[in-house]
Symmetry: C2
Subunit: 162 residues, 2 copies
């Protein structure tokens, strides 16, 4: 956890740790693999980088969103590990599986955050090299992760409501 112990610009570390713990739990319990967490960085500009992303929004006492983004090859392997079978990435089942994974990660973090927050249903974006931008008044922390299925990134862009 030393990678997140140092406070980042405008980011409340207390809000980030629940996401890191949740990613680890979900990958360990649902995918039977270990997710390792790399050094997070503050994301200043939207950079096209990933092929498959799931977004879950937070509202209530916690505002913002969490995005889980994968390169296509990693998404396909991760979904196969999650669902127990390979899935066509153009199918609705594939998007459902990616969304459900993001829903579990966000749901686990929400429980840990303890605040009166609600989360939205996930939206899943599929498209080579897309970028995702959030409002600039909420800082965004990109957390690179690795698992037995390849690299992915969790982007946490949340703050406590004023």
């Amino acid at each position: 956890m030393e990678a997140v112990a140092e406070p980042k610009q405008g980011i409340n570390v207390k809000l980030i740790v629940p996401f890191i713990n949740s990613v680890r739990n979900v990958f360990s319990k649902m995918l039977n693999t270990t997710a390792t967490i790399q050094r997070p960085s503050v994301k200043m500009v939207p950079v096209p980088q990933y092929d498959v992303s799931a977004i879950v929004g937070f509202s209530g006492r916690i505002l913002g969103s969490v995005v889980v983004s994968f390169p296509m090859a990693t998404a396909m392997k991760t979904v196969a590990g999650f669902a127990g079978m390979e899935m066509d990435p153009t199918s609705a089942d594939f998007a459902d599986a990616v969304g459900e994974l993001a829903n579990m990660i966000a749901g686990g973090a929400k429980k840990d955050l303890g605040a009166d927050a609600s989360i939205t249903c996930p939206s899943v974006i599929i498209g080579a090299g897309h970028s995702i931008a959030r409002l600039r008044d909420v800082p965004c922390l990109a957390i690179p992760c690795d698992s037995g299925f390849g690299s992915f990134v969790i982007e946490v862009s949340i703050k406590e409501a004023a």
Copy 2:
């Protein structure tokens, strides 16, 4: 409004009309152009179609999301009309403008819905030909629209909480 007068499969028309009214209001007041609404259709599968999308999530008594999607040329013209100047689509300002537009549409609809719903900050996706999928238990209505800046689509995927 005759295009939405007939109930669609699993879609509550009462939940859709506020979005149509809000799109018209926002384009009229903020963009000084008329948005015309085409016949909506139920979206069954995610189809790659658009280049710029903004997602706003709903939680609380209303669950789901609204997505506003544009082809790149229309997005650029619409942002220029909204901001009063052309913007580089790779800039954070461009994403902010698209997000703010979606935020106004969702915010106007939320007010009309009257329910105890909260909306998330917008997320903006930029990437040629991306598709967006939602959970299949919430029906999604795609509403094609036209304005002086070109065609775009509003996808409303919401339901009342059980």
